[in-house]
């Protein structure tokens, strides 16, 4: 039985699931891919981005990481569901929603 959610992938057999999908570890939100059903995805144009950081707190998940220097980095598509809030929040048109082709 795969004990950890981190090791549980969509090819897991019913025999290897934890009982009742119970979770035996903390902070599984960091290891479980929640961006796998995205239809649209945000793409950033760095030439337009002013690092105003209005986008980062708008993200309902953890898809816009901000580094130690206080600069936003590229999208984390492991979590991004393509909701498009960031694209709406950006005052400079630096974020465009495009069709997800992954």
């Amino acid at each position: 039985m795969s004990k950890y959610a981190a090791n549980t992938a969509p090819d897991v057999s019913w025999k290897d699931l934890t009982r009742a999908c119970d979770i035996y570890e903390p902070a599984t939100s960091e290891v479980v891919e929640t961006g796998d059903w995205r239809v649209m995805k945000p793409v950033i144009d760095w030439s337009k981005c002013k690092q105003c950081l209005l986008c980062a707190p708008c993200c309902p998940d953890m898809s816009i990481p901000v580094n130690a220097e206080g600069k936003r980095e590229d999208f984390n598509y492991f979590f991004c569901k393509g909701c498009g809030i960031c694209a709406n929040a950006c005052p400079f048109g630096a974020i465009t929603m495009v069709k997800n082709k992954d």
Binding site: W14, K15, L17, R19, A20, C21, D22, I23, W37
Partner: protein
């Protein structure tokens, strides 16, 4: 030495609970199961048990209480009837799919309407797809015995279990009963085997996770396997119980089936009435028998198929109607088992005893008379029948 007593079915269940001394009870009163938490609350108040008794505001909350307690690692119990069981339904599914071996005593009662407080099986049958193991008792003794076996069975497959008896007919009737000594009960029931539970030190745990479509079916398949495995668990625990008490139980009980030509299949207290009818008919030379179903879920499919092989005709008796226009739930399950085994049979379905309608020895004799007519003529006629309804 076993203790000879005289107890009602509800008292017998409450006494079994007291002997087991579980950790948590969440319960809400409803006729005819009210006495169970009432007696048990007295034990709690007298300090005869260590159980945390939680007086909740509804059956939905009663089952929620049990779910939380059982997930935490406790042994949790409840008792209910009729619309109380209906009101628990949402949480019954959670208990089963979270694989929590809760024990629920059910004193079966009709559902409204018309409003009725008497016995039939429409409450228990209404929640038959919730994923619970369901054992039914013919007598107070069986209700007590099933209860003593319940936790061992449930905990060995991580599924919740319902211990059903007939409301009023056994729940309120006082019968002679053999009780097991409390020390023996505690040794037999033992401690709940625990691997993962919420209050386990050094392990973070989440119960009741969300499963996306890629995982949900696998989780359900695993749950289905637990119910398949429950058949062996029931047999194993029942054998151990028999070795301790001399009272042996199986998934089904066959009564006068060795040379039977016609038979009835039924659940609950009316099986006792059928036994009386069978004795009377056998004295007159009729080769009649009974298959009493103790475990409704898991359904004893192969066992019933084996038992009905060679019968000229039989009737499946449902104390409930599915209102699907053609049969009750026991008949549906029995016929599915027969088809899967490639066995054809002359089988009719009787809906009987609804809302406390008295089932007499003569009622069962009427069923056998119909069966013997079918055996003689080979003509089954209408399979969906109501027993002794006024035309």
């Amino acid at each position: 030495m076993a203790i000879r007593e005289r107890l009602s079915g509800n008292e017998a269940i409450a006494y079994a609970m007291k002997q087991i001394n579980p950790d948590v009870m969440g319960a809400f009163p409803i006729t005819p199961s009210t006495e169970i938490p009432q007696y048990f609350a007295t034990y709690v108040d007298n300090g005869e048990v260590d159980t945390e008794f939680i007086a909740v505001e509804s059956e939905h909350s009663a089952m929620s209480t049990c779910i939380g307690a059982e997930a935490a690692g406790a042994r949790a119990i409840s008792a209910t009837s009729s619309c109380g069981l209906c009101y628990m339904t949402e949480m019954l599914y959670i208990a089963a799919s979270d694989r929590l071996p809760i024990t629920l005593a059910v004193s079966c009662r009709a559902l409204s309407g018309p409003i009725n407080i008497n016995n039939d099986h429409s409450d228990a049958m209404g929640v038959r797809d919730a994923g619970w193991i369901m054992l039914f008792a013919e007598t107070n003794q069986e209700a007590y015995d099933n209860y003593l076996m319940a936790m061992r069975i449930a905990e060995s497959v991580n599924l919740p279990i319902m211990i059903c008896q007939d409301g009023f007919i056994t729940s309120h009737a006082i019968e002679n009963i053999d009780l097991v000594e409390t020390e023996k009960v505690q040794e037999f029931v033992g401690e709940r085997p625990l691997d993962h539970y919420l209050l386990k030190p050094q392990e973070t745990m989440a119960v009741g996770a969300y499963a996306t479509p890629v995982y949900y079916m696998e989780a359900k398949r695993a749950q289905a396997q637990a119910m398949i495995d429950a058949k062996d668990a029931i047999r194993k625990v029942s054998k151990e119980f028999g070795d301790m008490t001399g009272r042996y139980y199986d998934l089904i009980e066959k009564y006068e089936m060795d040379d039977a030509e016609t038979a009835v299949i039924m659940i609950g207290s009316s099986a006792g009435t059928a036994k009386e009818a069978i004795q009377d008919l056998r004295a007159k030379g009729h080769k009649v028998g009974l298959i009493k179903v103790r475990s409704f879920h898991p359904f004893p499919d192969k066992e019933i198929v084996d038992a009905v092989k060679g019968l000229k005709a039989f009737a499946v008796m449902d104390k409930d109607d599915s209102f699907n226009g053609h049969c009750g739930p026991m008949y549906a399950e029995t016929c599915a088992a027969l088809v899967a085994a490639g066995v054809s049979a002359k089988a009719i379905n009787y809906i009987y005893g609804l809302g406390g309608r008295d089932v007499k020895v003569s009622s069962i004799e009427k069923v056998f008379a119909e069966l013997e007519e079918i055996a003689k003529t080979g003509n089954v006629g209408e399979t969906y029948r109501y027993l002794e309804v006024r035309e």
